[in-house]
Structures are given as C-alpha cells and as structure tokens.
C-alpha cells in the first residue's frame, strides 16, 4: 500500500547505515546525488519518446538506489512510473517524470541539511 504522503527520508535506514559505515555514508550519498541527475535526464528523454521500456528500466534503477538509502518519497514516485510502464501504458509520462524530479530535489535538499558534508 503506497503511502499518500510518504516521508522524504526514513531516518531509521540512514541511522543504521550511519552506524555501519560511519563517515562513508556521506560518500555514498554524494555519489547518489551526482549520478541521479543523469538518470533523470534519461528518464525525461524516455518520457518524451514514449519509450516505456526505458521508462520502466530507469525508474526501477532510481527506485532501487533511493529506496535502499531510505529516500522513501523519491522511491515511491519511481515505483508508480515503473508499474505503469511495465504494464505497457503510461498516463502522462512527463507529469510522472516531473514528479520524480521534484522529489529528487526535495530529497537532495533534506540530505544536505542533515548531512552537510554531502555537498562537496
């Protein structure tokens, strides 16, 4: 059941990763913040081209990476797109992509506030 207003960050996940990895967590987060924009670019292109295969694939990737890091809202927005794309028909792909982009910006902001080291 998808949460209608999921949290941006799941603190528990990040805390656990913090415990395990210590400062290395920030490196991971930074990597994520650097790489995801490229993926988002690909997603937008796929939406404009109505390439459901690409949409499904890229959405799945971002869903995975964000989900594993506790970025729930972002992850779930990708899930919606992935599910529709897998079924073969996406309503308003661009709108869903915009939503994902929005969630990404929000997550990035929140992360930078929580983890100042991430901006480097």
């Amino acid at each position: 059941m998808l949460n209608t207003s999921p949290p941006i960050l799941e603190q528990g996940t990040l805390d656990t990763l913090r415990d395990i990895l210590g400062d290395e967590l920030e490196l991971l987060l930074r990597d994520m913040l650097h790489e995801t924009p490229d993926q988002l670019g690909g997603l937008r292109q796929a939406a404009e081209a109505c390439d459901t295969e690409a949409l499904s694939r890229i959405a799945h990737i971002i869903k995975g990476s964000s989900g594993n890091l506790g970025l729930v809202a972002l992850s779930q927005s990708c899930q919606i797109l992935e599910d529709q794309a897998r079924d073969g028909a996406v309503d308003e792909p661009l709108r869903l992509v915009e939503r994902i982009e929005f969630e990404f910006r929000r997550s990035a902001e929140t992360l930078k506030q929580t983890f100042p080291g991430v901006t480097q």
Binding site: T13, T16, L17, D19, I20, L21, E24, L28, D31, M32, E35, R57, H60, I61, G64, S65, G67, N68, L69, G70, S75
Partner: protein, 709 residues
C-alpha cells in the same frame, strides 16, 4: 564503533562476495556494508561481467539482483549455478518486496536464498553469515562422506541398509564396487544383494537375514560372493536389524568386507604349518597326524599301516663339498622321485633334514613294505642332475616298521622305523632293514652311548694308545700308530667298533679327532726329545674330518701348537675315503703335503679303487690290510694277494706297512717280499703311553725278536 557486530569472525577475512547489480549506488552501498562486516567484495554491473569475474577469481558467495540490462538475474543465476554447483556456492538474489513470482523463479534458477528490497541493512551481513555457515556445514558433511568412503575403500568395506517393509536398499559405493554391481540405478533392493551371494551359501545367508529380522539376532558370517564379472570373493558380513525410529517397520543394516586376501594369507600359514617349503611334501607334523589316524582306523579293524624312514646317506658330505644349494636341489630331486609313490595312495613326507618318511596304509600283503623299500632303492640308483653335473649319487638307508596286532601306537612305529634306519646305515647304507623289537633296546643303548660319548672328553675318559710299527729287518720300533680308547667309568672299555662309527655319525669325531691328534703329537714330541730316535707318528683321519674344508688349517694349527715336526706325522686315510671324490682327495692330500705332513693309505685292498688314481695320490705309505695276512699259514699259503699288493707298492715307490701280523710265519712272509714295516700283535698290542714308553725302552735296548739279517 559498529553496534551491530560484536566481533568480526576471523574467517570472514578470506571470504569473497561477488555483488552483481546494475545500480551503482546500491552496489556500492552493499559492498561497503559487507566490507564493514569483514568480507572482501568484488563488483559486476551486469550478468556477463559477473560470469567473467566468477571465472577469474575465487568467489565464496554471490549477491545478485533480479533485474539487469543484458541478462536477467535468473539466467545469470542459472549460469552461475552450473559453474558453482560443485562448491555449493551460495547465490542470494535481491528480489522486490511481495514479488512472489521472482522468488519462485529465483528458486528454480538455483538461488540459495532471497533478500527483499529495499535492503534491510542491519540484517544483510547476518543473512550472509547464515548462508555461509550452511555452505560450510555442507562442505564438512561432504568431506566426512568422502573420508568415510575412502576409509571404506581402503578397508574394502561396504555397507548397506534396507527397509524391510518396502525392501528398498541403500548400497554404498564401496559395496557396489565389491559386488561388481553396475551403478545403473541408485535404488537397489534386498534381492539385488542376495543375488550376489554364491548359490551354495545362499540358504545360509537368507536364514541369517531372516533370523535377524524375526528374532533380532545380529549375525556375523563368512560367505562367498560372485561378482558381476564372475569372479568369486570371500566376504565377512555383519548385520543387525533395528526398529525404525518413526512410523514402525524394521530396518536392517549391514557391512560387508572383502576378506579374500586375508583368507589367502590364512591358507598360506596353514600350508606352511603342514608342508615342507623346499620339497612341497607334507612335513612331519602332518605326517604324524596322518599316521595317528591310520593307527586309529587300524585299531577299529583293518590292516595296520607300515612306516618307512628313508635317510639319505652322507648328505652332510655333499653339503660340505658342494654347498647347501646343491644339497637342497638334491633333496628336491629325491622328493620328486618319491612322489611317484603318492599315486598309489601312499603318503610321502619330509620328516627331517635328511630323512623322508613313507606311510603305507592298508599294507595288505605282508611283503608290501619290503617291495616298496626295494623300489625306493632302485629309484636311488640313478644319478641326479644337479647344477650342471649329472653324476651325483646318493644312497638311502631305509628302516621299515610294521604295525602288528599287538598295538604299537604311532610313536612306536616312528621310533621303530628310525632305529631300523640307523641300523641300515650302520651296516653300510644303501639297504633296508626291518625293525626288530630288539632293536629298540639297541636304539636306546645307542642314544645312551651317544650322550656318554659327548661327555667323555670332559670327563677325561678318552685316552690315546699306541701300537708300534717295527722295521721288518731290524725289528726296531720306528714308529707308532695312535689309537683312540674310551674308558667309561661304569661301562669300562668301550669297543672302538661301537663308538667310532657313532662319533662319525654325530660329528663328534671332529673335536675328538682334533684332541687325538693334539695329544699324540705332544706325546710323540716328548719322545723325540727323549732321544728314542726319529719315531714316526701315524694318526687316523675319519671321512668326516677328511671332507672338512678346514682340515689342513687345523692340522697345521695343531702342529704349531705342539711344536711337533710335520715330517714325522703320517695321517692315515682309508682307501674308501680317498677314492670318493678323487680330485678333491688329491687336492687335500697335496695341501697336507705342502705343510710337511705325510699320508698313508690305510686298509688298502679292501675297497673299490681305481689303480690309475692310486698312482696320482700324493701318499707315502701303503698299509696292507690285516685281512690279507690273517690266512697266511706256516707254509706261506694264501699269501698271493699280500704279495701282489706289496709288489705293486714297491713299483709305485711307496713305503709298505703290513697290519695285523700275528705270527712269525706271517712276518717272515711279508718280510721276504719286501715289506718295510710290520704292525701287529706279534710285536705288541696297542698300549697306553707309559706302557708304550717302557716297552719302547726295552725294544730299543733289547729287540724282542731277533731277525735274520
């Protein structure tokens, strides 16, 4: 500080995990988390790279995402499993939450376990740990299984288990090997196993199995098994039945061990305990058992057995002159000949080092043992071909003991045959003799005498007597012959005719002979120093001494010890001895000559001689045997042979001594024909040293007989 992990297990340092995911963020996170837990990680971003890495590097575990760009995770999983199956490498698939379809497909593809996404980081390394432990347990089990199989192979031990209700049986690999069962199917049943049992043993085995099941009695039996290829084995099978733990019913479990080699070894030991290794004949132990049985069945009614003992004459001489190798070959050759008798139902055995025994059962005809004895002597007439020579003869002395109704037991027959054999030997060998109960007394006496003789030297019961040899013309004593006498404390003077052959047979003649020589040389030296003139000393050698390789060395040693001048020592060798192995005799005599000693040929004319050999012998003196003079009468009749021998000796330039001269007429006869020296009762019987000396004195000062010039 990692709160999650208390300790990082040491083994994790070496453990390598391959992480396969196209999402770099997830991949990196997984790797970092695993590294923090002490594992080593490798990464691959797609299926093909994953397979490549897997080939190139050692991997203990794979974490694999289901969705990937080039190959889907399930195909990758299946491909990895093919390569990784032997090592049972755990493959954990990362599946979507609630994605049951993926979980199923992961299982089919060979995944060991699944981890749902988003990943629960605190549990990730735990899941990994569990999976690694399961693998370690599996590997240990497999190793133990391999060890067990190896041990079973070494022990040639197989095991089996069957469920009685279903009759399905488990058969271990080793057991399949032992029985030669084709591994066509892994499921066997009890009938497969029973079919392998030898038909003759099957009833016994089936009964044992049946008892085990119905009465719960375990069994341990040896039986034969016929393998798939037809070869036969002997196995030892132990089995027991027990109740199934759950659900009732009975299981029966057993081990089967191939003991064929063991049985062969036992059979060999059994053989060696009963058979003589050299000839392959039964040994005395087995012969004794057979004899007892034969005697027992005779007592039950039936004819008694006869025992023949066959001693090979003078085998020890052959050993001494040709070596034990030749002696052994000779024994084998004799055994082969005797074996012909086995075809007629008689038993031939090797009883002693130079003695064979024959057991004649159902000696129905009273003369059968005698016939056999004759037959054996005939067999012995032919020479044996040994080591390239074709001229080795050996004679046999045969003793026959028959079972008579008066019930002598097996022991008596053996003793009787032995005594009869000795008698045959004493009478010259190459003949047979029947056991005479009187001979038992003789045999006992013989044994007694032998033991006394052994002690005679220590007890100072032996003495050397001397008989003078007189110059035929002057009548002066020119030499003496040393003769052995035995004064037994109780038996008195024992006749040399009795104990000398005994000494020769037992080999006692060797130390005794050396003692005689030493004593006589010492005495003669003393007499030399007392100026009785250049007296010559004659000492008899026995055949045993003559055949010994160290004879010359021993004589030389005694001469050195005593300081006696070898020129005055004359060793007396009988004609029989010298003509035995002529070449050897010549060599020995030459060697004696080289140390300065002279040799005389004793008892000349009584044996078989080759006159051409006589010429070649390096001897100085010929002693004419007493038998040639004893019949010479006052008129000189019956002296033809004595004359001939003396004449021959002269023509060969030999010194001649005539022995056994008792009358003046005899003395005159030989004197006239040119005999140089005379020995006999006419002059003196053999005397102990003191008496001889006083006689010598008198002889030198007052010659006993005046001789015509």
């Amino acid at each position: 500080m990692n709160a999650i992990f208390e300790t990082a297990p040491a083994a994790q340092d070496a453990t390598t995990i391959l992480v396969v995911d196209d999402d770099p963020v997830t991949r990196h996170t997984v790797c970092k988390v695993l590294k923090a837990a002490g594992y080593r990680t490798l990464e691959a971003e797609n299926g093909s790279l994953a397979l490549e890495r897997f080939e190139l590097e050692w991997v203990d575990m794979v974490l694999l995402d289901v969705l990937m760009p080039d190959m889907d995770g399930f195909s990758v999983c299946a491909a990895l499993r093919k390569r990784a199956d032997r090592e049972r490498i755990p493959i954990l698939m990362l599946t979507g939450l609630n994605d049951v379809g993926s979980v199923d497909r992961a299982f089919t593809a060979g995944a060991s376990d699944f981890i749902t996404k988003p990943i629960n980081w605190s549990l990730l390394s735990q899941r990994v740990r569990y999976a690694l432990r399961a693998r370690a347990t599996y590997l240990e089990l497999r190793e133990n299984q391999a060890r067990l199989t190896r041990a079973q192979q070494i022990a040639k031990l197989g095991c089996w288990e069957a469920d009685i209700g279903s009759s399905h049986a488990y058969v271990s690999e080793e057991l399949r090997d032992i029985l030669g069962l084709a591994p066509k199917h892994s499921a066997h049943d009890l009938d497969d196993l029973l079919r392998a049992v030898h038909t003759e043993d099957r009833a016994r085995v089936e009964e044992a199995v049946s008892n085990a099941i119905t009465r719960g009695t375990p069994f341990n039996i040896d039986h034969r098994v016929v393998r798939g290829d037809g070869t036969e084995l002997i196995v030892q099978q132990q089995a027991a039945a027990m109740d199934n733990e759950l659900g009732g019913g009975v299981r029966i479990m057993g081990t089967i061990q191939d003991i064929s080699a063991h049985k062969k070894a036992e059979a060999l030991v059994e053989y060696q305990a009963n058979y003589d290794v050299l000839t392959g004949l039964p040994n005395r132990h087995r012969f004794g058992a057979r004899l007892k049985r034969a005697v027992a069945s005779a007592q039950a009614g039936g004819d008694g057995p006869a025992v023949l003992f066959l001693g090979l004459d003078r085998l020890n001489l052959i050993h001494d002159s040709l070596g034990h190798g030749a002696g052994d070959l000779l024994l084998q050759s004799v055994a082969e000949r005797l074996r012909r008798l086995e075809r007629r139902g008689h038993t031939v055995a090797r009883f002693g080092s130079d003695v064979f025994a024959l057991l004649l059962e159902n000696a129905a005809r009273a003369d059968a043992p005698t016939e056999i004895a004759r037959e054996v002597l005939d067999m012995m007439v032919q020479s044996h071909a040994i080591e390239g020579r074709d001229d080795l003869f050996v004679g046999a002395s045969i003793g026959i003991a028959c079972h008579d109704g008066a019930a002598p037991g097996a022991d008596m027959l053996l003793k009787g045959a032995d005594a009869a054999m000795h008698r045959a030997r004493q009478e010259g060998g190459n003949r047979f003799c029947h056991h005479d109960p009187r001979m038992e007394a003789e045999a006992r006496e013989r044994l007694k005498l032998e033991s006394q003789l052994r002690k005679a030297m220590e007890r100072d019961e032996l003495e050397v007597y001397y008989q003078p040899q007189v110059d035929a013309r002057s009548g002066h004593v020119v030499g003496m012959e040393a003769l052995l006498r035995w004064h037994h404390s109780q038996m008195g003077l024992v006749s040399p005719l009795k104990f000398i052959p005994l000494a020769e047979e037992t080999g006692l003649i060797v130390p005794i002979g050396a003692w005689v020589l030493r004593t006589a040389c010492r005495q003669a030296k003393e007499w030399h120093e007392r100026d009785y003139g250049p007296l010559r000393l004659g000492v008899n050698l026995s055949a045993v001494q003559f055949a010994r390789g160290d004879l010359v060395a021993e004589v030389a040693g005694i001469l050195r010890e005593t300081g006696f001048d070898p020129r005055y020592l004359e060793l007396e060798v009988t004609e029989g001895m010298a003509m035995g192995d002529v070449e050897r005799s010549i060599a020995t005599l030459r060697a004696l000559r080289e140390i300065g000693v002279q040799v005389s040929l004793d008892d000349f004319g009584t044996g078989y001689s080759s006159l051409s050999y006589l010429q070649r012998l390096p001897i100085r003196t010929l002693k004419v045997d007493r038998s040639f003079v004893k019949d010479i009468d006052a008129d000189g009749n019956n002296g033809a042979l004595a004359s001939a021998i003396i004449a021959m000796a002269h023509s060969l330039n030999l010194n001649v001594i005539t022995e056994g001269v008792e009358t003046e007429a005899q003395a005159e006869f030989v004197r006239q024909r040119g005999c140089h020296e005379i020995q006999g009762f006419l002059y003196s019987k053999p005397l102990p040293a003191e008496a001889f000396e006083s006689h010598l004195l008198s002889a030198l000062r007052r010659p006993r007989k005046r001789v015509a010039a």
